[in-house]
């Protein structure tokens, strides 16, 4: 096999092994949050086209790795278009994000965004931190102040 062929085969294998993303609408979102009751949950709305989202995802995974034993969960929801789903799944695989991972599947972005938080404009990155009862503690819209996020997570875990 040529070097190019080997590279193509490796790339194809990686894509084939990438986990599939679970479609998620407004109702499924609420069910997902409820399923994490008893834990502090950080939900990351991201997209492959969002450069700051891609940059901060490894830092979120580091936070998750450090805090998961204390009752901290991280869930990712891709806001990519359907044709970008494969590359979104592949990116998540490279970042070793926790599974399951989701992709927005809403008939109306208006309804979807408002169901998550009426104050959210739809700007990415968007992080929502939920308490153990499934209520929003705080949102982080746009580039995230990681120190503030970590501090807020630690306080939530300690409360």
């Amino acid at each position: 096999m040529t070097r190019r062929g080997l590279l193509l085969a490796c790339a194809a294998r990686a894509l084939a092994a990438a986990p599939s993303l679970i479609p998620l609408d407004e109702l499924a979102f609420r069910r997902m949050v409820t399923s994490h009751r008893g834990k502090i949950l950080l939900v990351d709305f991201w997209a492959t086209w969002c450069s700051p989202c891609r940059e901060e995802l490894p830092k979120l995974v580091d936070l998750y790795t450090a805090q998961k034993s204390k009752g901290f969960d991280l869930t990712t929801i891709s806001c990519d278009e359907p044709e970008q789903q494969a590359s979104a799944a592949h990116f998540l695989q490279t970042q070793r994000t926790p599974e399951p991972a989701y992709i927005r599947h809403a008939t109306s972005d208006d309804a979807f965004i408002n169901a998550i938080d009426p104050k959210w404009s739809g700007a990415l990155p968007a992080l929502f931190l939920f308490d153990r009862k499934g209520a929003v503690i705080q949102s982080f819209i746009g580039e995230t102040d990681m120190k503030l996020l970590e501090k807020t997570i630690n306080k939530a875990l300690a409360s």
Partner: protein, 193 residues
């Protein structure tokens, strides 16, 4: 501990609120503001506005904003002739005038693009995402705030939200939808002291 945690969260919320003190809301007047031409000279909204005015926040780097470049040009071609004035702004601290000028040139934008230095205008409109649009009527009142349409993918667009709002305001009517949302890139704001 719970009390101090709540207090610190409230403080963080209040601090965040003061960063984005939205002044212009749908149904309320839009007062004058300053923008910067790409040659560095100032311009006033009062000199740029028309009978109906479209204020639009765009980006050089945001793929979602760029997905709308052709649609923005088509909007201008269709609505400038009807008397709509375009005030197109770049409020990203990460996008200085030179790349904004190059981007406008490469895409042959028929409208001028202005810099909103330190996102002062974005703060007053409460703009947080690109692309994000605002339609102002002949009396200076904000009549529509939201997205251009309902999909960044042109083939999936079902509702021309901005065009419907412009048509309504040009006809002296209230838009059917006055506030809409869409996913996009956050405006990269200047740090506040």
């Amino acid at each position: 501990m719970k009390h101090s945690f709540s207090a610190s969260l409230l403080a963080a919320f209040l601090a965040a609120s003061s960063l984005y003190a939205q002044e212009f809301k749908v149904g309320s007047p839009v007062t004058d503001f300053s923008v910067t031409k790409l040659d560095g000279s100032p311009a006033q909204f009062s000199q740029l506005k028309g009978n109906v005015t479209l204020v639009m926040f765009i980006s050089v780097q945001c793929p979602v904003s760029n997905a709308y470049d052709d649609r923005m040009t088509a909007l201008y071609n269709d609505y400038a002739a009807k008397g709509v004035k375009f005030v197109v702004l770049n409020a990203n601290r990460t996008e200085p005038p030179a790349p904004v000028r190059q981007h406008a040139s490469e895409h042959a934008f028929p409208f001028s693009v202005y810099k909103d230095e330190n996102n002062v205008v974005a703060d007053r409109f409460g703009a947080t995402v690109t692309p994000e649009t605002y339609v102002i009527d002949s009396t200076g009142v904000l009549r529509y705030h939201g997205s251009i349409d309902d999909s960044q993918n042109l083939s999936r667009v079902t509702t021309q939200r901005l065009r419907m709002a412009l048509d309504a305001v040009l006809a002296g009517k209230e838009p059917i939808q006055t506030e809409t949302k869409a996913l996009g890139c956050s405006i990269k704001r200047a740090p506040k002291s």
